[in-house]
């Protein structure tokens, strides 16, 4: 604790540390990231216009104060004009000032309306991506192609300096095609925000919102969940990988092949050998289960029970299947049935029943899982 507390304190004493992010200086910005779609470009121009108005007003206010403080001070024996508020200006300022402010307001509102029309433009899209926010991950569905990507935070060791900006599976989009985003959420409010490519709309459970973009430049674009969604709000970044149209088509057909192959494998009714399942199972176990049950199956008692030598892993297969597929109510054990497919579950269960000297010799088949669902 004290150590952690000291870290910021040292930095406080060493202003040179203020420039710790030198290596990612390329991303260092005073303003919005460079806009790359028609919508964000218009919004950016609008933002610059209103900023300019703000700047001009502030310059005028500052000039007023510098002059007044210099000129109208008692120490310079300036005689106050007690009748000033009764002059023509005092009589009419209540109308003049609002008229001027109204003029500025209407100018801004006018250009805002035309930009808003562009945001609301309903030209048919080439591609629809449904973006679903959940605590705390993003799910992308390419509606036309029926392909789904789940995107979660890339851990610090892998992300390096781009930690909290990068994800394991980025959303891949083609450039120069019109993409329509549908926004919804499965639990609480979220907001999908990638400032360079599209404006944000909230993801609200039960509602569906849409935004659109045409990305004009290839590259990686980053964003974050903008609407507070609880504990993991800071930990659900967004990464969009924009690639050329043909590249995207190739990528998409590959995704479809992978999906078909998986389905075929699961549906083929192939009987899997024990060692095949063990290899697959070890990988999947480490990915999905080892956080709680530990890579060596020792668990973190009492919350996460050990699997090594456990009654469930050594006992009846059907009980084991039930716990993994449906979860154990009242405990931290999640229901994996709707998160993993038959083969994946079969591999994990097989691994759990044979690793760490559990040696039951059971090779649980995808068909067993299917039957147990």
């Amino acid at each position: 604790m004290s150590n952690r507390f000291l870290k910021p304190c040292t930095a406080f004493a060493l202003p040179s540390l203020l420039l710790t992010s030198g290596a990612v200086l390329a991303e260092y910005k005073f303003n919005f990231p460079e806009p790359v779609s028609p919508v964000t470009k218009e919004v950016f121009d609008l933002h610059m216009m209103t900023s300019a108005v703000a700047l001009i007003i502030m310059v005028l206010v500052t000039i007023f104060f510098v002059y007044s403080i210099y000129k109208f001070r008692k120490s310079k024996n300036y005689e106050p004009d007690q009748e000033f508020h009764k002059g023509w200006f005092g009589t009419w300022s209540w109308a003049l000032v609002p008229a001027i402010v109204l003029g500025i307001d209407l100018t801004i509102a006018g250009s805002a309306s035309s930009t808003f029309d562009l945001i609301e433009d309903k030209t048919p899209a080439d591609l629809t991506v449904k973006v679903t926010g959940s605590q705390w991950k993003w799910t992308y569905e390419y509606m036309e192609d029926d392909v789904k990507i789940v995107s979660t935070l890339l851990p610090k060791e892998e992300a390096g300096e781009l930690y909290l900006r990068t994800v394991d599976n980025p959303l891949v989009l083609p450039t120069d095609r019109r993409v329509r985003f549908l926004h919804t959420a499965t639990d609480v409010l979220h907001a999908w925000w990638v400032p360079a490519i599209a404006v944000k709309k909230d993801s609200i459970p039960g509602y569906i919102n849409e935004t659109w973009t045409i990305i004009e430049k290839e590259g990686n674009y980053h964003g974050q969940c903008a609407e507070n969604c609880g504990t993991g709000h800071a930990f659900m970044p967004i990464q969009v990988n924009a690639i050329a149209g043909e590249e995207f088509d190739t990528w998409m057909s590959k995704q479809k092949e992978i999906k078909l192959a998986k389905m075929a494998e699961a549906a083929s009714g192939k009987v899997w050998a024990l060692d095949e399942l063990m290899t697959k199972g070890e990988e999947l176990y480490n990915k999905n289960c080892s956080a709680c049950h530990k890579p060596d199956g020792s668990g973190i008692p009492p919350v996460f029970p050990p699997l090594k030598g456990s009654a469930i892993a050594l006992g009846d297969v059907s009980k084991h299947l039930e716990v993994v597929i449906k979860g154990a109510s009242g405990t931290a054990m999640a229901a994996w049935g709707n998160q993993l497919d038959d083969l994946e579950l079969a591999a994990i269960i097989t691994y759990e029943r044979n690793a760490w000297e559990n040696n039951t010799g059971d090779a649980v088949q995808p068909s067993d899982v299917k039957a147990a669902r």
């Binding site: 933002h47 508020h85 609200i204």
Partner: protein, 532 residues
Amino acid sequence: MSTTTTHEDHHHAPPTGFGRWLFSTNHKDIGTMYLIFSLIMLFIGGGMAMLIRAELFYPGLQFLEPDLFNNLVTVHAIIMVFGVVMPAAAGMANWMVPLQIGAPDMALPRLNNLSFWLLPAAAILLMLSVIVPFFGGGTPVNTGWTLYPPLSIQSGMGMDLLIFTMHTLGISSILAAINIVTTIINMRAPGLTMMKLPLFIWAWLFTGILLIMIMPALAGGVTMLLFDRHFGTSFFDAAGGGDPVLFQHLFWFFGHPEVYVLLLPSIGVLGVIVPTFSRKPLFGYKSLVWGMGVLLLLGMVVWAHHQYTIGMSVAATNYFMIGTILISIPVGLMLFNFMLTMWRGAMTFETPMLFAIAIIVMFSFAGTTGVMLAVVPADLQYHDTYFVVAHFHYALIPGALFGLYAGVFFWLPKWTGHMYNETLGKIFFWWTTIGFNLTFFPQHFSGLAGMPRRIVDYSVQFVEFNQISSIGAFIFGLSHLLFVYIIIQTVRGGEKAADKPWEGAQIGTPGLEWTLSSPPPFHSFETPPTVK
């Protein structure tokens, strides 16, 4: 202790001991208690802000868990809004409204006592809501002060305590508002017509009316939330036929006018300070009064500009956008009138005036970023980023808090009978103003660069802005120790203050408070003064 009841003989010396405060019906004592309470809460809320900034000094998780961090963000906001600015403004009203209108006390003195003593009760409930999660009370309230469902349905027992806090605070401020409005309408000295009132009184009249309109709506909203959480109703639960977005409408129907509740008293304070130190009557008194009235009306009907991203219809969006931008008219008019009050005046720069000038400059800036935020397409980018955080801190710290500081320095000689130390006052002004700007100016940039609000950990690309911001926050926070020192020093002694310590105090206004001694007697204006 039973001496302090309504039967008390008004010509006796003030009652002594604990009972003087607990059973007080004296507007000055209650005003003092309000001010001390808000000062204590300022340190609690400010301490939370310091923890938040310390956590954000470095990327990564330093010492606050994500839920605790967002709990502090939530409670910081609630303390600052309901525990600091509103009680401080109410305390100032308690002190100054009877003195400025020549009334012997508030219209409903016993109610006044109740509305104050509800506040410590609310503060205890609020602290409990922070503490219960450590003792198995479920998830802390990690929603931000907006308490949006469904996230607020997930929170644990802290949420229920927070809802009760809101209820208690709501009752307290409604009672205070009823009292102040009644006093202003019915207890003015003979001859003191409405259009002769000091601007501070007008400001509090509008604030009181606004509070009475909006606090019950908030109470209703959080009551529904409580029912949804525990009694199986579905006001905001889609599965039972409710709508989570409805809560946002209810909240902001209260939340946006609430901003004016916080701002108006300070605008009133400016309305008496600026002419005093410019030695020249207030410019455009009538348009300031009308401007505040228009602000109140407009403020009530533009709430949904906090919700542009929910996907409203074009018509609704345009309505809320134009309504919001139009708010710049009364606000611009007010600031312009203050500036023209200084124009061709003979200014001196005591601490209250320094604050007044800084407020006008910084609040103008908040106004311009406010117009930027009102513009829907741009807001779809700014929404929920640090740009918004910077904007509302620029509006509320100068607009509300600094206005109250200016009022404290302005009236401290009257309240205590001693002049504060002018040098220390000026040091405090520069210290706090520089600290404030250092804290919040960089946040505009981190917001534009893409940093969302309410995040406990951020990417290294935002580190510079956050470190400057944190350093500024520590400077800003520390300056308040000097503030407390100045106040204690003034209360305990110092140069005797004249009845009218400020040369220009009565220019263009009846200035009844300056006709009394400094400090004023325990019972003042027992015979109403006459205003010509």
